[in-house]
Assembly symmetry: C2
Homo-oligomer: 216 residues x 2
Amino acid sequence: MRSKKIPDIVIRRLPLYLRTLARMAAEGKEITSSDQLAEQLRISSALIRKDLSYFGEFGKQGTGYQIRFLQEQLQRILKVDREWEVALVGAGNLGRALAHYKGFCNRGFRIVAVYDNDPAKIGKMLGNLKVKSASHLVEDVRARRLKMAMLAVPADHAQEVADQLVEAGIRAVLSYAPIHLTVPDGVYVQYIDPVVHLQRMTYYLGNRKHSNLKGF
Amino acid sequence: MRSKKIPDIVIRRLPLYLRTLARMAAEGKEITSSDQLAEQLRISSALIRKDLSYFGEFGKQGTGYQIRFLQEQLQRILKVDREWEVALVGAGNLGRALAHYKGFCNRGFRIVAVYDNDPAKIGKMLGNLKVKSASHLVEDVRARRLKMAMLAVPADHAQEVADQLVEAGIRAVLSYAPIHLTVPDGVYVQYIDPVVHLQRMTYYLGNRKHSNLKGF
DNA sequence: TAGATTGTTAATCGATTAACAATC
DNA sequence: TAGATTGTTAATCGATTAACAATC
């Protein structure tokens, strides 16, 4: 089963399954079905069953899936059955929001260091972390063997910082800068750009205030 | 050309084209080609030409695309050749970061109102906006005829706020809450959940610190 | 048992790519 | 003109769905 290459599009859905399972577990549910998951996620139940079947047989005919068990399996598959230590670069408003965000810790991640190049910010506390000088980034990240980083710096510094992160041994970057980063093979980048998401919706919005006035 | 339904996956790429074009324009370039765009975006040039051809003929054989012109066309298609007024709900750390973010204004969006239900935050300034009570949200948003909103509230309030936004006439929501929102047909939702993005990368990361020790 | 739901196959659907005539 | 690049078609590739035997 693990033998043939699993499509990235399948991998990309697994975190969504995990999130829905967590929700169900929080509601006290113990068992679910591909139909229930499908309804929550607005995809077909066949797709969910097929996705899961790449990795094993996690359900029981006639019953469905044990939520706790399926969570554990997906966490293992996605390698979030552990805690990844993450570096954060950028201690501006966005960096602060990320540093304070409570949602990382129980889903596999913890920010363990914050860097900035602004002397006014270096030394200040962000949550329970002291902001360190970006000049220590490379040696520091390498010494701690960090593999993941979040990038919350202005667009015009993003590539430069990305280069440093790669040099320091970072393998996965979550970038909030609205530019495409160039990185070597084997380094993974995901982007979050709120404007892109907003622009994906405006296409579908009618032009006029009174959209019930069809044709006018 | 506008007659047959355009696949959503095409629409989803247009903002990325727009972003790359903006970058090129900022660098002083005036003309580009599907090959150049493709290289930047790591997709095939044929795909770019095909995507654009859904909407018209924007290039010139032998020459390529006038960057400024293509930007204008894409902005028009995505309806971001205007400024959309956006409501922001949630004045916590994330809300603050969004309120201060400079990247909205020149890409079609402006936050014009901020709401929170925390008495300690109501009345405070967030950037140049005064935080208003969430109790005014519905009448306020409706009166201003706002069509878009950003949701930066804790997960356990997100659905409730989403319901209010829909009631107030909001047609598109960008949600930062890590849960699936249920909304009526005709209301569009996009999600930003950094943990999902992180979890999409860990699958590909080796387990061990010393990943050069193959097999051990 | 009867009912429900899985895992899986084959069919369908849709998206991407290769190729090239048109043409700037 | 010669070279370059578009817009578009047909072929390929990949993803989703429908259906159902297996089985809990």
